[in-house]
Protein backbone atom coordinates (compact mmCIF):
# COMPACT_ATOMS: atom_id res chain seq x y z
CA UNK A 1 0.00 0.00 0.00
CA UNK A 2 1.41 3.34 -1.04
CA UNK A 3 2.01 6.12 1.46
CA UNK A 4 0.36 9.49 0.82
CA UNK A 5 2.38 12.71 0.79
CA UNK A 6 0.99 13.56 4.22
CA UNK A 7 2.00 10.18 5.59
CA UNK A 8 5.50 10.47 4.13
CA UNK A 9 5.89 13.96 5.60
CA UNK A 10 4.75 12.76 9.03
CA UNK A 11 7.00 9.71 8.81
CA UNK A 12 10.01 11.78 7.75
CA UNK A 13 9.37 14.21 10.59
CA UNK A 14 9.53 11.28 13.02
CA UNK A 15 12.80 10.04 11.52
CA UNK A 16 14.29 13.53 11.63
CA UNK A 17 13.16 13.97 15.22
CA UNK A 18 14.60 10.60 16.16
CA UNK A 19 17.96 11.39 14.59
CA UNK A 20 18.37 15.05 15.49
CA UNK A 21 15.87 15.89 18.20
CA UNK A 22 14.25 18.56 15.97
CA UNK A 23 10.55 18.90 16.87
CA UNK A 24 8.31 17.14 14.38
CA UNK A 25 6.19 20.26 13.85
CA UNK A 26 9.30 22.14 12.67
CA UNK A 27 9.62 19.75 9.75
CA UNK A 28 7.70 21.30 6.86
CA UNK A 29 7.81 20.87 3.08
CA UNK A 30 9.63 24.15 2.45
CA UNK A 31 12.39 23.56 4.99
CA UNK A 32 15.93 22.99 3.75
CA UNK A 33 17.68 20.05 5.41
CA UNK A 34 20.94 21.95 5.75
CA UNK A 35 20.04 25.66 5.91
CA UNK A 36 16.86 25.46 7.99
CA UNK A 37 17.11 22.22 9.91
CA UNK A 38 20.92 22.25 10.28
CA UNK A 39 21.17 18.55 9.50
CA UNK A 40 24.74 17.42 8.83
CA UNK A 41 25.66 14.95 6.13
CA UNK A 42 26.00 11.98 8.45
CA UNK A 43 22.58 12.60 9.95
CA UNK A 44 21.17 13.05 6.46
CA UNK A 45 22.50 9.66 5.40
CA UNK A 46 21.12 8.11 8.59
CA UNK A 47 17.70 9.56 7.79
CA UNK A 48 17.97 8.25 4.22
CA UNK A 49 18.84 4.74 5.40
CA UNK A 50 15.94 4.74 7.84
CA UNK A 51 13.55 6.25 5.27
CA UNK A 52 14.37 3.50 2.79
CA UNK A 53 13.37 0.94 5.37
CA UNK A 54 10.31 2.80 6.65
CA UNK A 55 8.82 3.52 3.21
CA UNK A 56 10.23 0.48 1.40
CA UNK A 57 11.88 2.54 -1.32
CA UNK A 58 15.40 2.92 -2.70
CA UNK A 59 17.01 6.36 -2.57
CA UNK A 60 20.20 6.17 -4.66
CA UNK A 61 23.24 7.94 -3.21
CA UNK A 62 23.47 10.20 -6.27
CA UNK A 63 19.88 11.28 -5.70
CA UNK A 64 20.44 12.35 -2.09
CA UNK A 65 22.31 15.52 -3.10
CA UNK A 66 19.25 16.64 -5.07
CA UNK A 67 17.03 16.43 -1.99
CA UNK A 68 17.48 19.99 -0.79
CA UNK A 69 14.19 20.45 1.00
CA UNK A 70 11.88 18.19 2.94
CA UNK A 71 9.40 18.64 0.07
CA UNK A 72 11.98 17.28 -2.40
CA UNK A 73 12.33 14.17 -0.26
CA UNK A 74 8.58 13.70 0.13
CA UNK A 75 8.06 14.00 -3.63
CA UNK A 76 10.89 11.58 -4.38
CA UNK A 77 9.66 8.99 -1.90
CA UNK A 78 6.03 9.20 -3.06
CA UNK A 79 7.09 8.75 -6.70
CA UNK A 80 9.56 5.99 -5.87
CA UNK A 81 6.94 3.77 -4.29
CA UNK A 82 6.16 0.71 -6.35
Amino acid sequence: MAFTSEEVLAGLAELINDETGIATDSVALDKSFTDDLDIDSISMMTIVVNAEEKFDVKIPDEEVKNLTTVGDAVTFIVNAQG
Partner: protein, 412 residues
Protein backbone atom coordinates in the same frame (compact mmCIF):
# COMPACT_ATOMS: atom_id res chain seq x y z
CA UNK B 1 59.98 16.78 38.42
CA UNK B 2 56.64 18.53 38.40
CA UNK B 3 54.20 17.62 41.14
CA UNK B 4 50.94 16.32 39.65
CA UNK B 5 47.70 16.15 41.57
CA UNK B 6 44.23 14.66 41.27
CA UNK B 7 41.50 17.26 41.45
CA UNK B 8 38.47 15.48 40.02
CA UNK B 9 37.15 11.92 39.98
CA UNK B 10 34.19 10.33 38.22
CA UNK B 11 33.03 6.74 37.95
CA UNK B 12 30.06 4.73 36.85
CA UNK B 13 30.34 1.12 37.89
CA UNK B 14 28.48 -2.10 38.63
CA UNK B 15 28.12 -1.06 42.28
CA UNK B 16 27.15 2.59 41.79
CA UNK B 17 26.16 5.09 39.14
CA UNK B 18 28.56 7.69 40.54
CA UNK B 19 31.89 7.78 42.36
CA UNK B 20 30.30 8.39 45.76
CA UNK B 21 27.74 5.62 45.33
CA UNK B 22 30.42 3.22 44.09
CA UNK B 23 32.73 4.02 47.01
CA UNK B 24 29.95 3.70 49.59
CA UNK B 25 28.86 0.37 48.14
CA UNK B 26 32.48 -0.81 48.11
CA UNK B 27 32.95 0.06 51.77
CA UNK B 28 29.66 -1.69 52.56
CA UNK B 29 30.91 -4.90 50.93
CA UNK B 30 28.48 -4.90 48.02
CA UNK B 31 28.77 -7.11 44.95
CA UNK B 32 27.91 -5.90 41.46
CA UNK B 33 27.63 -9.40 40.02
CA UNK B 34 24.09 -10.36 39.07
CA UNK B 35 22.32 -12.72 36.66
CA UNK B 36 22.12 -11.31 33.11
CA UNK B 37 18.46 -10.91 32.27
CA UNK B 38 18.68 -11.03 28.50
CA UNK B 39 17.05 -13.43 26.07
CA UNK B 40 20.41 -14.18 24.47
CA UNK B 41 21.62 -16.10 27.51
CA UNK B 42 19.20 -18.93 26.75
CA UNK B 43 19.07 -18.42 23.01
CA UNK B 44 22.80 -19.02 22.56
CA UNK B 45 23.22 -21.29 25.59
CA UNK B 46 25.87 -18.97 27.01
CA UNK B 47 27.82 -20.96 29.62
CA UNK B 48 28.23 -18.04 32.03
CA UNK B 49 24.89 -16.47 32.92
CA UNK B 50 25.96 -13.52 35.10
CA UNK B 51 28.10 -10.41 34.97
CA UNK B 52 28.71 -7.15 36.81
CA UNK B 53 26.65 -4.81 34.66
CA UNK B 54 26.75 -1.05 35.13
CA UNK B 55 24.00 0.32 37.34
CA UNK B 56 23.56 3.58 35.44
CA UNK B 57 20.99 3.87 32.67
CA UNK B 58 22.72 6.15 30.14
CA UNK B 59 19.41 7.27 28.62
CA UNK B 60 18.49 8.76 31.99
CA UNK B 61 21.62 10.92 32.33
CA UNK B 62 22.69 11.70 28.75
CA UNK B 63 20.97 13.68 26.03
CA UNK B 64 19.09 11.55 23.56
CA UNK B 65 21.45 12.50 20.73
CA UNK B 66 24.43 11.48 22.84
CA UNK B 67 22.91 8.08 23.43
CA UNK B 68 22.12 7.66 19.74
CA UNK B 69 25.56 8.67 18.53
CA UNK B 70 27.73 6.90 21.10
CA UNK B 71 28.43 3.24 21.69
CA UNK B 72 27.67 2.18 25.29
CA UNK B 73 31.41 2.25 26.03
CA UNK B 74 31.57 5.92 25.07
CA UNK B 75 28.34 6.64 26.92
CA UNK B 76 29.85 5.33 30.16
CA UNK B 77 33.04 7.29 29.47
CA UNK B 78 31.16 10.54 28.96
CA UNK B 79 29.15 10.01 32.14
CA UNK B 80 32.33 9.42 34.16
CA UNK B 81 34.24 12.29 32.55
CA UNK B 82 31.42 14.75 33.16
CA UNK B 83 31.28 13.77 36.80
CA UNK B 84 35.06 14.12 37.14
CA UNK B 85 35.09 17.50 35.41
CA UNK B 86 32.29 18.85 37.58
CA UNK B 87 34.00 17.38 40.64
CA UNK B 88 37.14 19.33 39.70
CA UNK B 89 35.05 22.51 39.71
CA UNK B 90 34.68 22.68 35.92
CA UNK B 91 38.04 24.46 35.57
CA UNK B 92 38.30 27.32 33.15
CA UNK B 93 41.31 26.39 31.05
CA UNK B 94 42.35 27.37 27.55
CA UNK B 95 41.14 24.58 25.23
CA UNK B 96 44.66 24.19 23.84
CA UNK B 97 45.86 23.32 27.35
CA UNK B 98 43.31 20.54 28.04
CA UNK B 99 44.35 17.06 26.94
CA UNK B 100 42.29 13.88 26.95
CA UNK B 101 44.05 10.53 27.27
CA UNK B 102 41.29 7.98 27.56
CA UNK B 103 41.48 4.23 27.15
CA UNK B 104 39.43 1.22 26.29
CA UNK B 105 40.35 -2.42 26.03
CA UNK B 106 38.07 -3.31 23.15
CA UNK B 107 36.10 -0.28 21.93
CA UNK B 108 32.63 -0.13 20.37
CA UNK B 109 31.87 -3.80 20.36
CA UNK B 110 28.08 -3.48 20.55
CA UNK B 111 28.06 -1.10 17.60
CA UNK B 112 30.28 -3.36 15.53
CA UNK B 113 28.29 -6.52 16.17
CA UNK B 114 24.89 -4.84 15.86
CA UNK B 115 25.97 -3.48 12.48
CA UNK B 116 27.16 -6.93 11.42
CA UNK B 117 23.75 -8.34 12.36
CA UNK B 118 22.09 -5.58 10.32
CA UNK B 119 24.30 -6.28 7.31
CA UNK B 120 23.52 -9.98 7.37
CA UNK B 121 19.80 -9.56 8.00
CA UNK B 122 19.00 -6.48 5.89
CA UNK B 123 21.94 -5.85 3.59
CA UNK B 124 24.59 -3.14 3.31
CA UNK B 125 22.12 -0.29 2.63
CA UNK B 126 20.82 -0.60 6.18
CA UNK B 127 24.23 -0.20 7.85
CA UNK B 128 24.09 3.23 9.47
CA UNK B 129 26.65 5.90 8.59
CA UNK B 130 27.59 6.48 12.26
CA UNK B 131 28.80 2.88 12.57
CA UNK B 132 32.52 3.57 12.18
CA UNK B 133 32.76 6.67 14.40
CA UNK B 134 30.85 4.77 17.07
CA UNK B 135 32.91 1.58 17.00
CA UNK B 136 36.42 3.06 16.75
CA UNK B 137 38.42 2.59 19.96
CA UNK B 138 39.24 6.31 20.12
CA UNK B 139 35.52 7.20 20.17
CA UNK B 140 35.40 7.66 23.94
CA UNK B 141 38.42 9.98 23.95
CA UNK B 142 36.92 11.90 21.06
CA UNK B 143 33.55 12.24 22.79
CA UNK B 144 35.17 13.58 25.97
CA UNK B 145 37.38 15.94 23.98
CA UNK B 146 34.39 17.32 22.09
CA UNK B 147 32.32 17.67 25.22
CA UNK B 148 35.02 19.52 27.18
CA UNK B 149 36.42 21.45 24.24
CA UNK B 150 39.81 19.84 24.84
CA UNK B 151 42.22 20.69 22.05
CA UNK B 152 45.66 19.66 23.32
CA UNK B 153 45.00 16.17 21.98
CA UNK B 154 42.60 13.28 22.36
CA UNK B 155 44.63 10.12 22.74
CA UNK B 156 43.61 6.50 23.27
CA UNK B 157 45.80 3.79 24.58
CA UNK B 158 44.73 0.18 24.10
CA UNK B 159 46.45 -2.42 26.26
CA UNK B 160 43.67 -4.82 27.27
CA UNK B 161 43.12 -4.85 31.02
CA UNK B 162 46.04 -2.49 31.65
CA UNK B 163 44.47 0.22 29.47
CA UNK B 164 42.89 2.38 32.17
CA UNK B 165 46.02 2.45 34.28
CA UNK B 166 48.25 3.05 31.27
CA UNK B 167 46.10 6.06 30.39
CA UNK B 168 46.87 7.55 33.81
CA UNK B 169 50.57 6.73 33.39
CA UNK B 170 50.43 8.53 30.05
CA UNK B 171 48.75 11.52 31.67
CA UNK B 172 51.61 11.64 34.14
CA UNK B 173 54.06 11.88 31.24
CA UNK B 174 52.02 14.48 29.35
CA UNK B 175 51.94 16.72 32.40
CA UNK B 176 55.63 16.19 33.12
CA UNK B 177 56.37 17.20 29.53
CA UNK B 178 54.18 20.27 29.84
CA UNK B 179 51.89 19.25 26.98
CA UNK B 180 48.85 20.49 28.88
CA UNK B 181 47.75 22.11 32.12
CA UNK B 182 44.92 19.66 32.70
CA UNK B 183 44.54 16.07 31.54
CA UNK B 184 41.40 13.97 31.69
CA UNK B 185 42.44 10.33 31.89
CA UNK B 186 40.72 7.04 32.51
CA UNK B 187 39.14 4.08 30.81
CA UNK B 188 35.89 2.46 29.84
CA UNK B 189 34.43 -0.86 28.75
CA UNK B 190 31.02 -2.15 27.74
CA UNK B 191 31.23 -5.69 26.43
CA UNK B 192 28.63 -7.60 28.40
CA UNK B 193 27.58 -9.18 25.12
CA UNK B 194 27.23 -12.87 24.26
CA UNK B 195 30.30 -12.97 22.02
CA UNK B 196 32.96 -11.84 24.51
CA UNK B 197 31.34 -13.90 27.25
CA UNK B 198 31.50 -16.97 25.02
CA UNK B 199 35.09 -16.15 24.08
CA UNK B 200 36.31 -15.50 27.62
CA UNK B 201 34.50 -18.63 28.78
CA UNK B 202 36.12 -20.59 25.97
CA UNK B 203 39.55 -19.69 27.32
CA UNK B 204 38.43 -20.68 30.84
CA UNK B 205 38.98 -17.15 32.11
CA UNK B 206 35.52 -16.55 33.61
CA UNK B 207 34.07 -17.82 36.85
CA UNK B 208 31.28 -20.30 36.19
CA UNK B 209 29.63 -19.84 39.55
CA UNK B 210 26.22 -19.31 37.92
CA UNK B 211 24.31 -20.33 41.04
CA UNK B 212 25.90 -17.64 43.22
CA UNK B 213 27.10 -14.62 41.20
CA UNK B 214 27.77 -12.40 44.24
CA UNK B 215 30.33 -14.92 45.50
CA UNK B 216 31.96 -15.54 42.12
CA UNK B 217 34.67 -12.87 42.19
CA UNK B 218 36.86 -14.05 45.07
CA UNK B 219 40.48 -12.94 44.68
CA UNK B 220 42.99 -14.95 46.76
CA UNK B 221 40.37 -17.45 47.89
CA UNK B 222 41.20 -21.10 47.37
CA UNK B 223 37.90 -21.61 45.55
CA UNK B 224 38.38 -18.82 42.99
CA UNK B 225 37.67 -20.04 39.47
CA UNK B 226 37.99 -17.03 37.20
CA UNK B 227 37.03 -13.39 36.83
CA UNK B 228 33.59 -11.82 36.61
CA UNK B 229 33.05 -9.68 33.53
CA UNK B 230 32.16 -6.12 34.49
CA UNK B 231 31.39 -2.91 32.66
CA UNK B 232 31.58 0.81 33.35
CA UNK B 233 34.04 3.67 33.25
CA UNK B 234 36.08 6.00 35.39
CA UNK B 235 37.82 9.30 34.78
CA UNK B 236 40.35 11.46 36.61
CA UNK B 237 41.10 15.14 36.27
CA UNK B 238 44.85 15.60 36.70
CA UNK B 239 46.83 18.79 36.69
CA UNK B 240 50.06 20.26 37.91
CA UNK B 241 50.00 21.18 41.57
CA UNK B 242 50.90 24.72 40.60
CA UNK B 243 47.90 24.96 38.29
CA UNK B 244 45.57 23.41 40.85
CA UNK B 245 46.69 25.74 43.63
CA UNK B 246 46.44 28.80 41.38
CA UNK B 247 42.78 28.11 40.76
CA UNK B 248 42.06 27.09 44.34
CA UNK B 249 41.16 23.50 43.47
CA UNK B 250 40.47 20.80 46.02
CA UNK B 251 43.26 18.22 45.85
CA UNK B 252 42.53 14.54 46.54
CA UNK B 253 46.02 13.12 46.24
CA UNK B 254 49.25 13.38 44.31
CA UNK B 255 49.80 11.25 41.23
CA UNK B 256 53.37 10.43 42.14
CA UNK B 257 54.25 8.03 39.34
CA UNK B 258 52.94 5.96 36.46
CA UNK B 259 54.83 3.24 34.66
CA UNK B 260 54.48 0.74 31.85
CA UNK B 261 56.45 -2.44 31.14
CA UNK B 262 55.88 -5.50 28.97
CA UNK B 263 56.51 -9.18 29.64
CA UNK B 264 57.33 -10.47 26.15
CA UNK B 265 56.45 -13.86 27.57
CA UNK B 266 53.01 -15.14 26.50
CA UNK B 267 49.99 -13.61 24.82
CA UNK B 268 47.63 -14.32 27.74
CA UNK B 269 49.50 -15.97 30.60
CA UNK B 270 51.32 -13.76 33.09
CA UNK B 271 55.03 -14.32 33.54
CA UNK B 272 54.98 -16.72 36.52
CA UNK B 273 58.04 -15.03 38.00
CA UNK B 274 56.38 -11.64 37.76
CA UNK B 275 59.52 -9.84 36.67
CA UNK B 276 57.77 -7.48 34.25
CA UNK B 277 55.11 -6.59 36.78
CA UNK B 278 57.78 -6.07 39.44
CA UNK B 279 59.71 -3.75 37.15
CA UNK B 280 56.56 -1.73 36.64
CA UNK B 281 56.07 -1.32 40.40
CA UNK B 282 59.71 -0.34 40.89
CA UNK B 283 59.58 2.16 38.02
CA UNK B 284 56.46 3.83 39.43
CA UNK B 285 58.11 4.08 42.85
CA UNK B 286 61.26 5.56 41.33
CA UNK B 287 59.18 8.25 39.64
CA UNK B 288 57.58 8.89 43.00
CA UNK B 289 61.00 9.36 44.54
CA UNK B 290 60.09 6.56 46.90
CA UNK B 291 61.22 3.09 47.83
CA UNK B 292 59.33 -0.11 48.46
CA UNK B 293 59.47 0.64 52.17
CA UNK B 294 57.31 3.72 51.70
CA UNK B 295 54.29 1.86 50.31
CA UNK B 296 51.41 1.70 52.77
CA UNK B 297 48.54 0.39 50.61
CA UNK B 298 48.12 -1.66 47.43
CA UNK B 299 45.08 -1.94 45.18
CA UNK B 300 45.94 -5.19 43.46
CA UNK B 301 44.99 -6.28 39.95
CA UNK B 302 43.77 -9.58 41.49
CA UNK B 303 41.15 -10.69 38.99
CA UNK B 304 40.27 -13.90 40.85
CA UNK B 305 41.83 -16.25 38.33
CA UNK B 306 43.74 -19.21 39.77
CA UNK B 307 47.00 -18.33 37.99
CA UNK B 308 46.90 -14.52 37.84
CA UNK B 309 46.51 -13.87 41.55
CA UNK B 310 49.57 -15.99 42.33
CA UNK B 311 51.67 -14.36 39.61
CA UNK B 312 50.90 -10.89 40.95
CA UNK B 313 51.88 -12.04 44.44
CA UNK B 314 55.20 -13.29 43.09
CA UNK B 315 55.80 -9.87 41.54
CA UNK B 316 54.93 -8.09 44.78
CA UNK B 317 57.24 -10.42 46.70
CA UNK B 318 60.09 -9.47 44.38
CA UNK B 319 59.54 -5.81 45.15
CA UNK B 320 58.61 -5.84 48.82
CA UNK B 321 60.49 -8.88 50.07
CA UNK B 322 59.67 -9.87 53.61
CA UNK B 323 57.44 -6.84 54.01
CA UNK B 324 55.00 -8.13 51.36
CA UNK B 325 52.72 -9.59 54.02
CA UNK B 326 52.58 -6.40 56.05
CA UNK B 327 51.05 -3.98 53.53
CA UNK B 328 47.24 -3.72 53.48
CA UNK B 329 46.05 -5.00 50.10
CA UNK B 330 42.59 -4.41 48.64
CA UNK B 331 41.33 -6.46 45.70
CA UNK B 332 38.28 -4.49 44.76
CA UNK B 333 37.35 -6.60 41.74
CA UNK B 334 35.76 -8.85 44.35
CA UNK B 335 32.99 -6.25 44.45
CA UNK B 336 33.07 -4.68 41.00
CA UNK B 337 34.03 -7.54 38.73
CA UNK B 338 36.62 -6.89 36.05
CA UNK B 339 35.94 -3.81 33.91
CA UNK B 340 38.75 -4.71 31.48
CA UNK B 341 39.87 -1.41 29.91
CA UNK B 342 37.96 0.54 32.55
CA UNK B 343 39.20 -1.38 35.53
CA UNK B 344 42.50 0.42 36.16
CA UNK B 345 40.85 3.82 36.22
CA UNK B 346 38.14 2.66 38.63
CA UNK B 347 40.72 1.09 40.92
CA UNK B 348 42.86 4.22 40.74
CA UNK B 349 39.88 6.16 42.05
CA UNK B 350 39.40 3.65 44.87
CA UNK B 351 43.10 4.03 45.66
CA UNK B 352 42.83 7.83 45.67
CA UNK B 353 39.79 7.70 47.95
CA UNK B 354 41.56 5.25 50.25
CA UNK B 355 44.30 7.86 50.70
CA UNK B 356 41.94 10.80 50.86
CA UNK B 357 39.67 9.15 53.43
CA UNK B 358 42.48 7.18 55.05
CA UNK B 359 40.51 3.97 54.68
CA UNK B 360 41.46 0.88 52.71
CA UNK B 361 38.35 -0.71 51.17
CA UNK B 362 37.39 -4.34 51.82
CA UNK B 363 37.92 -7.42 49.68
CA UNK B 364 34.76 -9.50 49.86
CA UNK B 365 34.38 -13.26 49.44
CA UNK B 366 37.72 -14.17 51.01
CA UNK B 367 36.66 -17.22 53.03
CA UNK B 368 39.79 -19.36 52.79
CA UNK B 369 42.90 -17.48 51.73
CA UNK B 370 45.20 -19.33 49.35
CA UNK B 371 48.27 -20.19 51.42
CA UNK B 372 50.47 -19.47 48.42
CA UNK B 373 49.41 -15.83 48.68
CA UNK B 374 50.21 -14.70 52.24
CA UNK B 375 49.20 -11.06 51.75
CA UNK B 376 47.57 -8.88 54.37
CA UNK B 377 44.24 -8.72 52.57
CA UNK B 378 41.84 -6.08 53.85
CA UNK B 379 38.47 -7.75 54.40
CA UNK B 380 36.66 -4.95 56.20
CA UNK B 381 37.30 -1.20 55.89
CA UNK B 382 40.59 -0.46 57.59
CA UNK B 383 42.03 2.84 58.79
CA UNK B 384 45.31 3.74 57.12
CA UNK B 385 46.57 6.07 59.83
CA UNK B 386 47.39 9.75 59.90
CA UNK B 387 50.93 9.81 58.54
CA UNK B 388 52.03 10.16 54.91
CA UNK B 389 50.64 7.41 52.72
CA UNK B 390 51.89 6.02 49.42
CA UNK B 391 49.68 3.61 47.50
CA UNK B 392 50.04 1.75 44.23
CA UNK B 393 47.41 0.38 41.88
CA UNK B 394 48.41 -2.43 39.52
CA UNK B 395 46.94 -3.51 36.19
CA UNK B 396 48.04 -6.26 33.84
CA UNK B 397 46.63 -7.10 30.43
CA UNK B 398 46.60 -9.80 27.78
CA UNK B 399 49.63 -9.18 25.63
CA UNK B 400 51.94 -8.94 28.60
CA UNK B 401 51.07 -5.32 29.41
CA UNK B 402 51.92 -4.15 32.92
CA UNK B 403 51.06 -0.73 34.26
CA UNK B 404 51.31 0.68 37.76
CA UNK B 405 50.34 4.07 39.15
CA UNK B 406 51.48 5.47 42.49
CA UNK B 407 49.51 7.97 44.54
CA UNK B 408 50.68 9.91 47.57
CA UNK B 409 48.41 11.35 50.24
CA UNK B 410 48.10 15.10 50.08
CA UNK B 411 47.90 17.42 53.06
CA UNK B 412 47.01 21.06 52.60
Amino acid sequence: MTTIVVTGIGATSPIGGTTRDSWSALLAGASGARPIEEEWIEKYEIPVTFAAQALVRPEEVLERQEVKRLDPSSQFALIAAREAWADAGSPEVAPERILVDYATGIGGLWTLLDAWDTLREKGPRRVLPMTIPMLMPNAAAAAISMHLGARAGARSVVSACASGTESIANAYEHLQLGLADVVVAGGTEAVVHPLPIAAFASMQALSKRNDDPAAASRPYDVDRDGFVLGEGAAALVLETKEHALARGARIYAELAGGSVTSDSYHITAPDPEGSGAARAVIAALEQAGATADDVTHINAHATSTPVGDVAEFEALKRVFGDRVGEIPVSATKASTGHLLGGTGALEAIFTILALHERTAPPTINLDNQDERIPLDVVTSPRALGDGPQLAISNSFGFGGHNSVVAFRSYDD
